[in-house]
């Protein structure tokens, strides 16, 4: 908080003192004013980008869970899919949007939604897979001592154990989908989202308005993170203690 205030103050002083021209860098006061003047536009853009991110987060999470369950249930499929998924995840998948954009009409939101879905999918899939595989040694020995069947172990231990990993995955994926939704807009398509507006206003040297949209993007990312963090806090309460310890 203090750091933020000092940073903004230093920025303001620097811009005024050095007489930096506004099309190079705008001072925070100008950005604030631009934000107030363009509030409606910013909120509309947040709705578009946020909507794409939210849809992707929902579909990606569901898909990630389903595929993780499937690969955990059928071992040989898991052995093929898991290393593959990690390899694919290492590719900066945002660049794929360039391909998807050409596959759909210019005004379609679908390529962006595919991207956000993919982003969320990988994070959730990898987390849930780990949750299904990594149980504590004590839990495993206990289940063995109870002579639990494979099915019982899956339902009573591996599945609930994965739930805390699921919510961690969602918390990590949520701000990532926002970034993906925004960056995906740089690759063409509708000019209605935050990413498109930011690049648009920067290219016509309206730096103050562009930065106001950047602030909007930060708020959106933060909102997603908070939402996911609260969801985790409420759904898997035992994680709180473990994190704080």
């Amino acid at each position: 908080m203090v750091f933020g205030v000092v940073f903004l103050g230093a920025w303001e002083v620097f811009v005024r003192w050095q007489h930096v021209r506004p099309f190079v860098l705008a001072p925070p006061s100008k950005v604030w004013a631009a934000g107030a003047n363009n509030l409606e536009g910013i909120v509309d853009a947040m709705k578009v980008s946020g909507g794409n991110a939210l849809l992707g987060l929902l579909f990606g999470t569901v898909l990630g869970c389903l595929v993780a369950l499937f690969t955990a249930a059928v071992r040989w499929i898991g052995e093929i899919v898991n290393p593959l998924a990690i390899a694919v995840n290492a590719i900066p998948i945002v660049v794929l949007v360039a391909i998807f954009t050409r596959m759909y009409e210019a005004d379609s939101e679908t390529p962006r939604r595919i991207m956000t879905t993919l982003t969320a999918f990988f994070v959730v899939f990898i987390n849930v897979s780990r949750g299904l595989r990594e149980n504590s040694a004590t839990h495993n020995e206990l289940m063995q001592s109870y002579a639990a069947t494979t099915r019982q172990k899956f339902l009573k231990l591996r599945l609930p154990n994965a739930s805390s990993f699921l919510f961690t995955g969602i918390r990590v994926a949520a701000p990532l989908t926002v970034i993906t939704a925004i960056v995906a807009e740089y690759f063409g398509g509708n000019r209605n989202g935050l990413g498109a507006s930011i690049s648009g206003f920067f290219s016509i040297s309206k730096k103050d308005v562009g930065l106001a949209y950047v602030a909007g993007a930060s708020v959106l990312g933060l909102l997603f993170f908070l939402l996911a963090a609260v969801l985790e806090y409420v759904s898997v309460p035992w994680q709180r203690r473990r994190v704080s310890k």
């Binding site: 839990h139 002579a147 639990a148 609930p160 739930s163």
Partner: protein, 264 residues
């Protein structure tokens, strides 16, 4: 006295045929009578935890014979003849305390009302009757360990296998838990095999202390404690208690006094 556990000439080798071959146990014989409390003590790597896992059928012996209540360990495990508790309480975070205790019964297909009754009975036994609907992470370490013991005893097994169950607790809680365990065992007439690092703990709890040495794991001597079964806090200051501690300590150092190899 009938035998709860027989371990006859048991060997256990890990990674047989590999360069990292480890002889964990060699020619181990132990007999545990019904209702007896036996501790296994020894340095790290002496195979005391391995021996416990062989009895529990979590591991299989390389050679030798083990019987639990006259059955194979596998059959005993399938029949839930024993309950087990570890250093980590290992409660399931997503289940309430009562549901944790019910888990072994649930897996055996007990009906809901019966399980719940048994869980409440067990909570009464470990003196936490009002924590049935609490979540494990709301309990202290000592309370969690009590729930783990309640869970281990839920199916009324005749045998309790414990692997350093109080190892992670502070000294005060630990002594309190030891007294509680003796009370519970006296009430339920359960046979116990108890793995520990602590000499006073082994002496305080046990009828007999099995002293082991490492590389490969062997039994060096078995100390009969012979303290009064109704031991209390005063016992910890009795002369006989200290004498037995000394006896176990000397046995651990490798110059056994008194009893020597037990061949009951």
């Amino acid at each position: 006295m009938t035998l709860a556990v027989e371990v006859i000439d048991v060997h256990k080798v890990f990674n047989a045929g590999h360069s990292q071959r480890v002889e964990a146990l060699a020619a181990v014989d132990v007999m545990v009578g019904e209702g007896e409390f036996v501790s296994l003590i020894g340095p790290s790597g002496c195979g005391k935890s391995t021996l416990l896992r062989l009895v529990a059928d979590l591991l299989e012996p390389t050679a030798g014979r083990i019987a639990v209540n006259g059955k194979t360990p596998r059959q005993a495990r399938l029949d839930q003849d024993y309950g087990m508790a570890f250093q980590q309480a290992g409660l399931f975070d997503w289940r309430t305390v009562a549901k944790n205790i019910e888990l072994p019964l649930e897996l055996k297909g007990w009906d809901k009302a019966k399980r719940r009754d048994r869980a409440l009975e067990m909570l009464e036994l470990v003196k936490l009757p009002d924590r049935a609907d609490a979540m494990p992470w709301q309990l202290s370490g000592g309370q969690q360990q009590r729930i783990a013991i309640a869970r281990a005893l839920a199916s009324h097994p005749s045998l309790l296998l414990m692997d350093e169950p109080f190892g992670a607790l502070d000294e005060m809680t630990r002594e309190h838990m030891q007294a509680e365990l003796l009370r519970i065992c006296a009430a339920t007439k359960t046979t116990v095999i108890f793995v520990t690092h602590s000499i006073p703990e082994a002496v305080y709890l046990s009828d007999r202390v099995v002293v082991m040495s490492a590389g490969p794991g062997r039994i060096t001597s078995i100390v009969s404690v012979g303290l009064d079964r109704s031991r209390d806090e005063g016992t910890r200051e009795a002369k006989q208690f200290y004498d037995k501690i000394t006896e176990v300590r000397e046995a651990l150092r490798g110059n056994p006094v008194g009893a020597g190899r037990d061949d009951r």
